[in-house]
């Protein structure tokens, strides 16, 4: 499913770039609560594992290539925020080291394979863990279902991105059928490996499974013959950075993408349209498959200047993303403050 350079058109690449940057910025903030210095290497291990798993590629007829994704495994073992980071790091390193997935398509790849899989998997997982009876078996079952659903979800997300910004007008029906069909099969493989891995880890080191935190019991300590309650373990945060810094980093990245790349991207209209116009065949071309999509007129038709219209659309898109991102930040911060207060009141 790794998208190479030049596969998705520039405006959509830039827009997904903004989505990805925002998601990573949010995750960097959230991950500080999930990781302490003992679990930080676990994130690296999960990333290495996913790296290995993703190297197994199956070519897919009308889509691109398909492989196991690993987002579910990451979300369950290290938590959803860190999970997004793990898969993003994998995609970044694959792009740099193995040239697997284009560097300019990084936004598409991260949005699709890091964000969608992790979020879908974790949502399904939490829901099932709440519904099912408490226990290790439930964790395994929930992992299976989460992984099973996360892969076709990513395939659907890919199809959507392709629909909006694909550079070749393969009919959307064909892409959907091929992508979703194959990824349902891959989802079964993914679910099996995820459930077996999570099951094995929960059995031996339940402390390493983020999704199984609720199973932990309050420890009793015997000190010189007397039983004492163990205090709540306090996680030591790694690489503590000020919230403002992370937030600013995210904002600056978004702005750079919005201001620079997006404008620049909008300056390069779809190559196909250019050919069509150059060769005077645009009248004969059939209606684009994406013509009725709300984003189809990314370069607004009524505006003659392609740069301006595309740029306008880009800025609007970025604006919407920034607002959405801020909403997420705000929500997270509120929850955080609530979390910070509770242990104090409990301690009194």
């Amino acid at each position: 499913m790794h998208v190479p350079d030049g596969f998705i058109d520039a405006p959509v690449s830039a827009a997904t770039g903004v989505v990805a940057a925002t998601a990573v910025a949010v995750s960097l903030r959230g991950a500080r609560r999930e990781l302490d210095e003992r679990t930080a290497p676990l994130a690296g291990l999960v990333a290495a594992f996913i790296f290995a798993v993703q190297m197994l590629n199956f070519p897919v007829a009308a889509g691109t290539s398909g492989h196991l994704l690993g987002g579910a495994l990451a979300a369950i073992l290290v938590g959803p925020y860190t999970g997004v980071l793990c898969v993003s790091v994998v995609l970044l390193m694959q792009g740099i080291l193995f040239a697997d997935g284009g560097l300019t398509a990084l936004g598409v790849n991260i949005t699709d394979m890091a964000v969608v899989t992790t979020v879908v998997a974790y949502a399904v997982f939490r829901l099932l863990v709440k519904v099912l009876p408490r226990g290790r078996r439930s964790i395994t079952v929930a992992s299976f279902a989460a992984a099973l659903l996360s892969v076709p979800a990513a395939a659907v997300a890919f199809t959507l991105i392709y629909w909006v910004g694909g550079t070749t007008d393969v009919s959307i029906g064909k892409v959907t059928t091929a992508m979703v069909g194959v990824h349902v099969l891959i989802g079964i493989g993914e679910a099996t490996i995820t459930a077996l891995t999570v099951g094995a880890v929960v059995a031996v080191r339940p402390d390493l499974v983020y999704g199984a935190r609720d199973l932990r019991q309050r420890l009793k300590l015997r000190v010189n013959g007397e039983l004492v309650d163990a205090p709540d373990p306090v996680a030591v945060p790694v690489a503590a950075r000020s919230q403002r810094k992370v937030w600013l980093a995210g904002l600056v990245t978004s702005l750079v993408l919005a201001g620079g790349v997006s404008f620049y991207a909008s300056a390069s209209p779809d190559g196909l349209e250019k050919v069509a116009a150059d060769q005077g065949i645009d009248k004969k071309t059939e209606k684009h498959a994406n013509a009725d999509s709300p984003l189809a007129d990314y370069g607004v038709k009524d505006v003659d200047d392609a740069r301006l219209s595309g740029g306008l659309a880009g800025v609007i898109g970025v604006g919407v993303t920034v607002v959405a991102g801020s909403a997420v930040f705000w929500a997270v911060r509120r929850r955080r403050t609530a979390d910070d207060v509770s242990p104090v009141s409990a301690g009194v």
Binding site: E37, G44, L45, F51, I96, F98, G102, T168, A249, A289
Partner: protein, 253 residues
């Protein structure tokens, strides 16, 4: 644990390209790919020029053509896809050797093949002239958030541990008469995935504790400051600079 410091993708050498600070190379490759991707696909000659530019870099870096071509094989899945494009895409059709092919599909195939191949070749050159540890330091210097660099460095360290553990487990399996071939391989691998995970974790955890005990707090300490001089930046940006020129010509011609 000595392994993780040289990777199979890296080709040891003392060329001027090897000697460039890693962050300049990373930035240059990224800019080059951005330029390539934004080139109109009908300017076929521009892509030929890009390939020549990369050829010059490979020559200066003394990376042999055979090595480069072998590494390009990673692209095969995309090639398979690109070949299919003309058959499945919609729109205008042309007859080639008695087959009805889509014009937009042909353009699409060319677009993905040309841009994809150039992107892959640039990354291959980067990876074969830069050590992994240097790449990570480069990312750190390009202000990638420390947590991401940390996850990436652990990933690479664990990559070695996992390969190593996998080899041990395979030897253990084979010495008990299990020959893994094809699909059967998968069942057994899936079952050993959990065990592999825990074994790798516990081995890597000890190294991590040793690092933490010596004051590691999330980012590698800087032992040798490497700063890039203006000359080095200029040198590294010769590639994307030249590419940009070609790209601009591509748009205007």
């Amino acid at each position: 644990m000595g392994a993780g410091h040289a990777h199979r993708l890296y080709r040891h050498g003392h060329s001027p390209v090897h000697a460039l600070p890693p962050h300049t190379k990373l930035a240059a490759v990224f800019c080059f790919v951005v330029v390539v991707v934004s080139t109109p696909r009908e300017a076929m000659w521009a892509f030929a020029l890009y390939a020549v530019l990369l050829g010059v870099v490979a020559y200066v870096a003394r990376v042999p053509a055979a090595f480069l071509l072998k590494r390009l094989l990673i692209e095969v899945p995309f090639v398979a896809f690109a070949v299919l494009m003309p058959f499945v895409a919609e729109g205008e059709r042309v007859e080639v050797l008695g087959m009805s092919l889509s014009v937009s599909g042909l353009w699409g195939a060319w677009n993905v093949l040309a841009k994809g191949t150039l992107g892959v070749a640039a990354s291959v050159l980067l990876a074969s002239t830069t050590e992994l540890r240097e790449l990570l330091l480069g990312l750190q210097r390009l202000k990638l958030p420390p947590l991401l660099v940390q996850i990436a460095s652990f990933m690479i360290r664990y990559g070695d541990v996992i390969t190593d553990e996998m080899r041990r487990m395979r030897i253990a399996r084979e010495s008990r008469g299990f020959e893994a071939r094809g699909v059967k391989h998968w069942g057994v691998l899936a079952k050993s995935a959990g065990a592999l995970f825990i074994r790798s974790y516990e081995r890597g955890e000890r190294v991590h504790l040793a690092m933490v005990s010596r004051g590691y707090a999330g980012s590698m300490p800087v032992i040798d400051e490497v700063t890039a001089s203006r000359a080095q930046w200029t040198y590294a940006f010769a590639l994307p600079g030249a590419a940009l020129l070609v790209c601009l010509l591509g748009w205007t011609l």
